[in-house]
């Protein structure tokens, strides 16, 4: 039984064909980015914070970059940060990387079920956070651990969540790395991609309704921009002129799918801003200074009721999607190294050295300190338990917080569960 329409092809018309985007390199290929145009640092103009949105639109196909080939900060976007701030950002970035490495290993050792690194993307969350106020709000994805680290969140609390252990304030209910902390302006991470993006807009709308002065930043990955939630966020932000920064972290991969599957062959992710008439910027995500400057610009705009900005941070996911993923199945293993925008930690380090504010010894020391800090936190956290030991005590807790009060049917189930586990 065929449901096909019987209408015939027109013989003198060309045959239609489906285009299926394919990444430039697959396993076995030699990744060669020599044809990729990398705009020079300092070349992108910086519109005034009160410029019309349309003035930013040329920047949605450019690339805001500050650090040049000689590791100097150049051009109108140079945020002119003092060395103290630069060193703080470097320290935060190094801490994130060390933390990721240790927790990845922990998962491999069977101490927890899952982990996700942000290797190569450390500059983005860290510099964004440093550009905002302590009171500003984030609706993050799972790759913005840098936001917490940059606000000096206790590493042991992050680990407690990862181990679902007795110290886990989420009581073992969430997958590892799905942090949440109101006091740190870090909204609960969702497993459902994209949902947080329009939520960020809602938070910003509420701030506007209440005449607050705090703004909000929403985060999303390149792949997840395809979700309807992305469009909701853009539409509501545009309609109500919400004081929000909408950040797309384009690390060029979504598990095994390259960014072309999300539309990157035809337009940048920053260009989406044009269609909604809001401000848009495309930024070198591996350049901590550019990230800082862009977020600062957008935050000033939002704070002065000049509305939302969409920022694309262009970067590269240097490792697997998560501990469940092996990228050698779909891309060359040396692609990360070949990718031209470099390593964000190395670049910031080199900049500080170039400024005469840093050297290799101090860097080694910083790394060691971070390592020691992470190890100490790990030791402390593991005292409170690792995942394989969890889920046996405090069974009753799993029936709390479904509602503010436990209704009869859940109370009955709690009794049953407690009986089962006696």
């Amino acid at each position: 039984m065929s449901d096909k329409d019987p209408a015939p092809l027109k013989p003198n018309r060309p045959k239609l064909a489906l285009h299926v985007p394919e990444p430039p390199f697959r396993p076995g290929d030699k990744p060669d980015f020599s044809k990729m145009k990398v705009p020079a640092a300092g070349s992108a103009p910086r519109p005034d914070v009160s410029a019309a949105a349309s003035e930013t639109h040329p920047l949605t196909t450019a690339l805001v970059r500050v650090l040049d080939e000689d590791n100097r900060a150049v051009g109108p976007w140079d945020p002119k940060l003092d060395p103290e701030t630069l060193r703080k950002m470097l320290r935060d970035m190094v801490t994130v990387r060390v933390f990721d490495d240790r927790m990845y290993r922990s998962q491999r050792q069977g101490k927890t079920s899952f982990y996700m690194k942000c290797t190569g993307e450390e500059a983005i969350a860290v510099a964004a956070q440093n550009a905002l106020d302590r009171e500003d709000m984030h609706f993050p994805t799972y790759r913005q651990q840098g936001l917490l680290v940059a606000r000096d969140y206790p590493l042991v609390d992050m680990m407690n969540q990862i181990y679902s252990n007795k110290g886990d304030k989420l009581q073992g209910r969430q997958l590892p790395i799905m942090y949440s902390d109101k006091a740190y302006g870090f909204f609960s991470i969702s497993g459902n991609l994209g949902t947080q993006f329009p939520q960020a807009v809602g938070w910003a709308m509420a701030a506007a309704i209440k005449g607050d002065s705090r703004i909000c930043m929403g985060w999303i990955g390149d792949g997840a921009t395809a979700e309807g939630d992305f469009h909701s966020a853009m539409t509501f932000a545009a309609v109500y002129n919400a004081p929000v920064i909408l950040a797309t972290v384009n690390n060029q991969w979504a598990i095994s799918s390259f960014s072309g599957i999300a539309g990157a062959e035809r337009a940048t992710f920053a260009q989406r801003a044009v269609g909604y008439g809001i401000a848009g910027l495309r930024v070198d995500g591996n350049d901590a200074l550019a990230v800082y400057a862009a977020v600062r610009w957008a935050s000033e705009r939002a704070r002065t009721n000049q509305g939302p900005t969409l920022i694309e941070f262009f970067t590269y996911r240097a490792e697997g999607h998560s501990t469940s993923d092996d990228p050698s199945g779909y891309r060359p293993t040396d692609e990360a190294k070949a990718w031209p925008l470099g390593d964000p930690i190395e670049r910031l380090k080199a900049h500080l050295i170039q400024l005469g504010e840093w050297d290799d010894e101090r860097h080694d020391e910083l790394t060691k300190e971070a390592d020691a800090k992470v190890r100490a936190a790990q030791k402390e956290s593991e005292k409170l338990g690792i995942l394989p030991q969890q889920g046996k005590d405090n069974i009753g807790s799993m029936f709390e917080d479904v509602y503010a009060e436990v209704p009869w049917h859940i109370a009955e189930q709690r009794e049953q569960a407690l009986d089962e586990n006696r």
């Binding site: 709308m205 309807g228 939630d229 909701s232 509501f236």
Partner: protein, 337 residues
């Protein structure tokens, strides 16, 4: 006491609560200047201003999502989905986010919000203005599901819902916005004014969530119903002269199981009425609960009177609607066995 229809009662609930709590924000499609396609939000924008009452883009997903963000901020969204049939684009945000937020954050973030939406058939709205999707929400832990059946309850339940710390899906039976409906579509419409529950007190009062109403006492049979079906059921047992106890559930989650059990233990028979399609409707849950908890009191199988497992067909509205004839057959069956 003022006499109100259900629309006026709901409108009044908004006003009472918005005057008491300036953190309440109302938005939805066409609800601002115009006051909503069913006029429930009429006059609100004028009284409370555009920062608290505003039209939303046609994006049910965006409406719920931004409400989540607002609740996270600490204000209270009281939003409208224009028809329950159009709630599905917001379903992911409701199921994955609204319902689970308190749990996944161990109480750090909560989602006190009310999502109002007109539901049910009886106005010749065809497949996409007639649906009763309540069981798609009763299955989702973390949501409360409320259905009023009179102006008095509508106001009291909506106020209770707004004051409740949990997220609530508030289904409004649109067929009885303007008057009770006993299922006789060929008879003239009775206005609410003739019904005692159209007397709606001024100001603040609540009808507590989780408490059913025994709207008719009886000894031979227990009828469980909600929304429009309360009136259809009442009329049917009266017409059949059955000494039935009719229970208006008012809230499906949490459910007033005590009142149900007590009644079925007394009567030994139970009939459940819902307008939604039969398979996996909320009546199935009720049926399962009753037989699990009252098995040794049951003298006959628990019966379900429901809509059919088809979409709601425009011209066959009255052949679809579980009206007096379907009630009669079921009543006869449950009483005969």
């Amino acid at each position: 006491m003022p006499t109100m229809n259900m629309i006026q009662a709901l409108n009044d609930a908004h006003k009472v609560m918005m005057r008491r709590d300036e953190d309440i924000v109302v938005f939805g499609e066409d609800i601002g200047f115009f006051g909503g396609v069913f006029r429930v939000t009429e006059g609100l924008q004028k009284e409370f201003g555009k920062q608290r009452v505003f039209d939303a883009p046609i994006s049910e997903g965006g409406i719920v999502a931004t409400a989540v963000g607002m609740a996270a901020y600490g204000i209270k969204p009281l939003i409208e989905i224009q028809f329950a049939d159009y709630i599905y684009p917001g379903y992911d945000q409701i199921v994955s986010e609204v319902a689970k937020m308190r749990y996944r954050t161990a109480g750090e973030w909560t989602m006190p919000m009310v999502i109002r939406t007109p539901y049910g058939g009886g106005i010749f709205g065809g497949q996409t203005h007639s649906q009763s999707p309540e069981s798609l929400f009763t299955h989702i832990a973390g949501l409360k599901v409320v259905v009023p059946s009179t102006p008095y309850d509508a106001k009291g339940l909506l106020i209770a819902a707004v004051e409740d710390p949990d997220p609530i899906i508030f289904f409004e039976p649109k067929r009885i916005y303007n008057g009770p409906f006993e299922g006789h579509h060929d008879r003239p419409v009775t206005p609410w004014a003739k019904h005692p529950a159209s007397e709606v007190p001024e100001g603040h009062y609540t009808v507590p969530l989780g408490k059913a109403a025994v709207v008719r006492e009886g000894n031979e049979l227990t009828v469980l119903a909600y929304g429009t079906m309360v009136h259809v059921a009442l009329a049917a047992v009266n017409e059949q002269g059955i000494d039935a106890e009719v229970i208006d559930l008012r809230s499906l989650v949490p459910l007033d199981i005590e009142t149900i059990e007590k009644s079925v233990e007394k009567t030994g028979r139970c009939l459940i009425a819902q307008e939604a399609p039969r398979t996996s409707g909320f009546a199935a849950e009720l049926s399962a609960l009753v037989q699990e908890r009252c098995f040794y009191h049951l003298e006959a199988p628990v019966e379900r009177v429901t809509g059919w497992d088809t979409p709601y067909p425009h011209a066959y509205e009255w052949a679809y609607f579980p009206g007096p004839k379907r009630m009669k057959t079921a009543l006869e069956k449950v009483m005969a066995d």
